[in-house]
Amino acid sequence: MKYLTRQEWYGALVAVLVLGVLLSIASPYFLNSRNLSNILVQASVVALLAGGQTFVILTGGVDLAVGALTALAGAMAGYMMVKLGIDPYLAILAAFAIGAGVGLFNGYLVAFVGIPSFIVTLGGLTLWRGLAFDATGGFDMSGMPEPFPFIGYGELFGLIPMPIVVMVLFYVSMSFVLSSTKLGRYVYAIGSNEMGARQVGINIRWYKLGVYVVSGLCCALAALVLIGRMDSSSGKMAQMFELDAIAAVILGGTSLFGGRGSIIGSLLGAILITMIRNGMNLLEISQFKQMMAIGAVVIIAVWIDVIRRKRLLRK
């Protein structure tokens, strides 16, 4: 029990359970397997983005361009398949190449040139979305070829929706990377004490570059799931997803100041945000109040993070 309460993601777990109980009481439609599976499917795209974002935030950075990069990778893949008739698997490769390429670009500017990640990715937010519109002529593509309908709406063994399968596999491998590889361990070291990490001989530039590439690849994966789910692609998609992704990471107990946090927390955070939206939809709460609620939740989560950090520093 003590092990559990000491985890950074403990708060998120409690929040998910409490909200789940409240929503089950409030709406007769909340607690059934169909709705719970819906929530996980709806959470999948944000969860994938939050997974990559976790790496960036753990190093003390932030990636504001994940929504725009998702749109770029998705719109390009869709354009290649539907308009140009390119083989879907080549388009998938291209999407990952775009994700990795933009990640390299961001990482180079942050780690080697020394521009704050906030600025690089704030510029990227409009740069990559603009490129997504420009490269596809601003047109929507629809009718994605296989395997996209399967990725978006298929079910493994006719039971588990594919977006959930992708999300679970992703989180299993990401938690392995974070706990058992050099990249994972150095990410924590860089985030908690960058100077110290440099002094013990960690080549922090390369590892910092690495986290942006991870985030870029996650955007590409999220884009592929998203265009499968929408059966269409456009430069407009994934608007403001960076907010949901960052919120999921913070709600999951990862510190915005870097160095502390967990990947499982981000998964719980993504589920929590989706549950809030799902609950508000079922309770028929209007769009404007939903926007206000999500914004307030983000501020409260950061507030809690700041208080926790002050307590830690005092100890």
Partner: protein, 318 residues
């Protein structure tokens, strides 16, 4: 106040909300909008809400935040879970919403598209202005105002949607039929007023001899007026043809900026959309395509139209 207190109060509040919703056993209709909050959509949504109230059904109104397709998909899925009796929806994207709409139809929930069609689904009904016909009216009027070979700016809507495509086609076809050599300068937007303003500003800078501006919606006309004001052009120097018959559009006409407006019966679109959804929920037979009609508003009939359509209540210029 401790946390237990807060939680128990919240629980009581939530329980009473849920009991209230369970107490009504009548039909439940979900009206899902695309999240646009301009005047035109306020009228459509107002008409829909009014029709829901009049019919005495349980009326749920939800909107796709920021016009984000994935959010609208999630809302449709949540409404299937909510087991509503019918869905009236204004799609964010004609094709993109179709997977979720197909799921609703498969679950036995009739789906009525409001204002914008759904492609790739066999929806129950599509209620909207026939955009091509209405834009034809706009194009014919424009043709009567210019000489062959004159320059015309056309501000498009989102060409990724059927609404945007049809309005452009209707206008261009009707204009070209009478004035085959008219030069159409296209300003592309995604229903964004600022894009329209910026586009018209640069088009006017490059072409000082533009005779007429036509828009796919009245928000575009607002952008065009702002651009003309900035360029020092006086009302009426360049003719302006609006589309929608929205309060803002008719205000512009009363101020002398707009000379014609292909008006949609906005409140009627929402109302008929919801009425059709209710009829479908009652298993009545409904038409697959319902045209709510269009009307060419001119300075001579603007007051009467504003009063009859209910637009007058939103207008600033009386």
């Amino acid at each position: 106040m401790n946390i237990k207190h807060v939680v128990s109060r919240l629980a009581v509040a939530l329980i009473s909300v849920s009991l209230m919703s369970v107490a009504h056993a009548e039909l439940t209709i979900a009206y899902i909008t695309n999240g646009n909050t301009n005047e035109g959509w306020t009228l459509i949504n107002g008409g829909a809400k009014e029709a829901g109230k009049k019919a005495g059904v349980k009326f749920i109104e939800l909107a796709a935040e920021k016009g984000e397709l994935s959010k609208q998909l999630a809302i449709v899925e949540d409404m299937i879970t909510r087991k509503v009796d019918a869905i009236a929806i204004a799609p964010v994207d004609s094709a993109g919403i179709s997977p979720a709409v197909n799921r609703a139809l498969a679950a036995g929930i009739p789906v009525v598209a409001v204002d914008t069609n759904v492609t790739g689904s066999k929806i129950t009904s599509y209620v909207a202005t026939d955009n091509i016909k209405a834009a034809n009216v706009q194009g014919e009027w424009a043709a009567g105002q210019i000489k062959d070979g004159d320059k015309v700016i056309y501000i498009t809507g989102d060409l990724g949607q059927s609404t945007g495509q049809e309005r452009k086609k209707g206008f261009v076809d009707a204009l070209k039929a009478k004035r085959p050599h008219a030069k159409i300068i296209e300003v592309s937007t995604t229903w964004d007023q600022t894009q329209a303003q910026n586009g018209v500003e640069s088009s006017l800078r490059a072409n000082s001899d533009v005779k007429l501006i036509a828009c796919a919606w009245d928000g575009g006309a607002l952008g065009a007026v702002a651009a003309m004001k900035g360029a020092g052009i006086k009302p009426g120097e360049i003719k302006l043809a609006g589309f929608d018959g929205s309060p803002g559009g008719l205000d512009m006409m009363k101020q002398g900026w707009q000379q014609a407006n292909a008006a949609q019966m906005l409140a009627k679109i929402g109302a008929v959309g919801v009425e059709t959804a209710i009829a479908a929920a009652k298993k009545q037979k409904v038409e697959a395509r319902i045209d709510t009609g269009a009307f060419l508003v001119l300075p001579s009939n603007v007051d009467k139209f504003a009063k009859d359509s209910g637009v007058a209540q939103f207008m600033k210029v009386k």
